[in-house]
Subunit: 218 residues, 2 copies
Amino acid sequence: MRVGELSRRSGVPIPTIKYYLREGLLAPGVAVASNQADYGEEHLRRLLLVRALIDVGGVSVAGAREVVGALTAYADDPLELLGVAQSSVAPRHQPDRATPEWLAARGRVTELVAERGWLVEAWSPEMDQVADALAAGGSLGVPELSEKLGEYADTAASLAAVEVGMVLARPDPAARMELVVLGTVLGEALFSALRMLAHQHESKRQLELGKPGPGIAQ
Amino acid sequence: MRVGELSRRSGVPIPTIKYYLREGLLAPGVAVASNQADYGEEHLRRLLLVRALIDVGGVSVAGAREVVGALTAYADDPLELLGVAQSSVAPRHQPDRATPEWLAARGRVTELVAERGWLVEAWSPEMDQVADALAAGGSLGVPELSEKLGEYADTAASLAAVEVGMVLARPDPAARMELVVLGTVLGEALFSALRMLAHQHESKRQLELGKPGPGIAQ
DNA sequence: CAGCAGCGGATAGTGCTGCTATCCGCAACG
DNA sequence: CGTTGCGGATAGCAGCACTATCCGCTGCTG
């Protein structure tokens, strides 16, 4: 197929496809003449993957390029691929990490990981991100996040068990590698939205409990 | 205090503080002369809150303005405030929602919410976001997300129960309202990073299980 | 075989975001 | 009384994710 059909079938405008080609998010088609190229189903699929990363996962174009690159570069190393997928959804900004409060929070994270025997590298950027959230809470006088850290970790662990099991259940290695990426990125978006809905529900529920009796306003 | 001290104590550069003032993220100081103004502790606190939203939570400047606005506008309506806080962390992009696949996914979400008796508005943007993730997975031939939807929802519910309990445990109403915001935004960042760490751990653990025997490579 | 839509490739431009820089006249402090 | 810093205003900038335009060519249509 040529670019017009690719555009029609994916819903992505032609100039955007050309942009993705330039940026290396999409492999060039097979040149069939000086100014004609041919794209296959794998191009369509790759394009849909890129759009899912960008539109649903909120990944940047540069991040998406790294992810699709890693998908071929680490075709048989799920842990490396996982690392790239995880860093692609990392926040774009980051706070000042030179304060003593931050270092204390960071120490608390190292401790948590050690306590649980989690097999993660000591320099994981995600550990810094946990410290960021803890330190921000601390500087605003919100110790609750730090206090509930264990419960957050428990919940994360049980979700991760489900998700990793889901990925490893895939027999085909290539499809499994794609699921590493999609599980990381789409799973994040999915869970985040469900957490919001659950917050709405729980808030209403617990607020009602707090004010018993008939004639609850609104 | 004047802007220099505010800058020193918060770590935010003076031009950025001026920008936040212009953008309405920070209330103007009390004018004490034609070109001198005075800021208090509450300005410092607000500034730290704004930076936490932006740097840790990844909220946009416009989103942060809405959140701090809601904090005063809905000082006694936690549910309204929660809605604003939630929409501030919503993804900036969104996919095409006009396809039949998306509508089917959306139906599945309505069903899930109904089954569980979750008290959420039927038009919640978060429900659309769940459908976005499901539909993206579907179009890429990944039914797993949809299959595990119930487990995702269970996990989200148990996390939400902890978090809402944490917020409602605060006796002071003003501090509680701030915690609604911080719980939503920082809680998201915190959990997301922990989920990544748990993925690393679980992946290593389950991969080791899969290849038993001595001399496991690396 | 003429004509015209569409193609691939290249270059330039756009709109938005989140700051950053500069300038001004004035206040405060040593 | 001079230096430093302030507040307020305006302008500028870098990065991102596209979007528009142009060119010569291809290949299908009639």
